[in-house]
């Protein structure tokens, strides 16, 4: 009898939640661990950041109400599948492994690798790489790109364990040029120690970098996926994404 009661109430709840979904606010799942400047809590305790603001802009474009729901990162895909959240929006790269489990919206941002070299060096990647010593951090998309795409460029690729070792050897002159995530490089060239260095260019789209970052969705949520893709397009056309990106990163990372 008890079991029947539980089953009945679960069924009722399920029916309620499915019928009421249109009116219910959508739950945007973000990582409970702050990931500044993409998602973090402001001084008054509310979540903000590039992805929080962008996500709310998507909801506005869809005319839907949304709530930010912090969820432990390691359990964020199960939470999506269980229905506790409706989408994942926290710099989740679209990868083949994840695509076997969940669906993705169109990518909404992409940070390519950026080349940094001395200001007084005439350098246009990838043509001028011949004979240069290029540093990358191993086990990153940039390392894969350097090995795969720049193999015949004539550059000598050196692999480091830590990003800071790469930066240091560039500043000390042991490396001619480095290739690393654009946002990190933006931060590097703003340092006093790197006053003589500048971003020389970006790496083009390449399979090594994946397809970019998209919203994670339940595979059966086709309607939401279609709405979101339209919303992403609208928000991009309005320039909202570019504005937010410039505000947070000083550069445009919207794809």
């Amino acid at each position: 009898m008890n079991y029947n009661l539980i089953a009945a109430s679960t069924l009722a709840l399920l029916t309620l939640s499915t019928t009421g979904q249109a009116a219910e606010p959508l739950q945007i799942g973000i990582s409970a661990e702050p990931y500044p400047p993409f998602t973090y809590t402001s001084s008054d305790g509310d979540w903000t950041g590039f992805e929080v603001e962008l996500g709310l802009a998507f909801c506005d474009a869809m005319n839907r109400e949304c709530e930010i729901k912090p969820t432990g990162w390691s359990g964020i895909i199960p939470s999506l599948k269980d229905g506790r959240i409706d989408m994942i929006m926290n710099s989740m790269s679209i990868t083949e492994a994840r695509q076997r489990v969940i669906d993705f919206s169109d990518p909404y941002y992409f940070t390519p690798g950026a080349y940094v070299a001395a200001k007084d060096m005439a350098f246009t990647p990838p043509d001028d790489l011949d004979g240069q010593v290029l540093g990358v951090q191993s086990a990153t998309t940039n390392a894969t790109y350097a090995r795969r795409a720049l193999r015949d460029s004539g550059a000598e690729v050196r692999l480091y364990d830590q990003a800071e070792q790469v930066n240091r050897d560039l500043l000390s002159g042991r490396l001619d040029v480095i290739l690393a995530d654009q946002i990190a490089m933006q931060e590097l060239v703003e340092r006093d120690a790197a006053a003589d260095f500048e971003i020389k260019g970006k790496a083009p789209h390449h399979s090594a970098y994946g397809e970019g970052v998209g919203l994670g969705l339940r595979p059966d949520d086709d309607a939401l996926q279609a709405d979101l893709n339209d919303a992403i397009e609208d928000v991009f056309e309005e320039g909202t994404c570019t504005d937010l990106s410039n505000e947070y990163f000083g550069t445009d990372i919207c794809t």
Partner: protein, 243 residues
């Protein structure tokens, strides 16, 4: 177990590059290290007192600190001092100084020099003084006594220990993967990062190191057996025309 990457020429070229770099570094470090070891041993025995003390201090420091720490010290510490010297980045030796190979070889040469220097010093002491006196009595100069008699006799005594030191050197080489040098371990790490395989590439390079150690042991055993004085000299006339 997944070994399909073995047939990929892309990974093969990295493994080959890592293998060649490992081999080169062993050869350079062994040759430089042993030459330094002999110099240090002799200087400690026959050099002026202050010099002997300095070498004693150097040996203590090199043997008392981790090799990885020394490698970082030379690459990040000394390397930083060197690059600060005005004009050095335009000089002809800069391509050598900016290469991690230089810092790897430097560290290993100093390390081998410190360890093997003590081994050789002990061996030099073990050679009975009467043999040296005999050499002098034959009219050899002190230099001749050292190179023809004292040092060969000492090396006879410590060759098996030196063989062990060389094997230890060979197996220390993967440390240079931490200073951005393409060795076998870095090649294995590339395969790990791209194929998401951890054990298979490590097993391969472990096998390569094992094979290199076996070859090195066989070669050094031949050296031990052929080294003058290591084989019975029956029937051989030691001093032509006199015996």
């Amino acid at each position: 177990m997944e070994f399909s990457w073995l047939s990929d020429p892309f990974y093969q070229s990295y493994l080959l590059e890592g293998f060649i770099n490992t081999l080169l570094l062993v050869i350079v470090s062994a040759a430089g290290g042993l030459a330094l070891a002999i110099t240090l041993a002799l200087a400690r025995l026959k050099g002026p007192r202050p010099l002997a003390w300095c070498i004693h201090g150097f040996t203590t420091v090199m043997r008392g600190t981790p090799l990885l720490v020394q490698l970082f010290f030379f690459y990040y510490g000394v390397g930083r001092l060197l690059e600060g010297i005005p004009g050095i980045q335009e000089s002809l030796i800069w391509p050598v100084l900016r290469d991690p190979f230089f810092y790897g070889a430097l560290t290993f040469i100093l390390s081998v020099g410190a360890y093997s220097g003590e081994v050789i010093r002990g061996a030099l002491i073990s050679v009975p003084p009467g043999e040296r006196e005999a050499g002098r009595a034959f009219g050899m100069s002190p230099t001749q006594v050292f190179f023809r008699l004292w040092l060969p006799r000492a090396i006879q005594l410590c060759l098996p220990t030196l063989t062990g030191e060389m094997i230890l050197l060979l197996k220390s080489i993967p440390l240079v993967s931490t200073i951005a040098m393409m060795d076998l371990l870095q090649a294995a790490n590339i395969i790990r990062d791209e194929m998401f395989l951890v054990y298979e590439p490590l097993m391969l390079i472990a096998g390569i190191y094992l094979a290199m150690t076996v070859v090195l042991t066989l070669v050094l055993r031949q050296v031990e057996q052929r080294f003058p004085g290591m084989r019975p000299t029956r029937g051989r006339r030691l001093i032509p025309g006199r015996a």
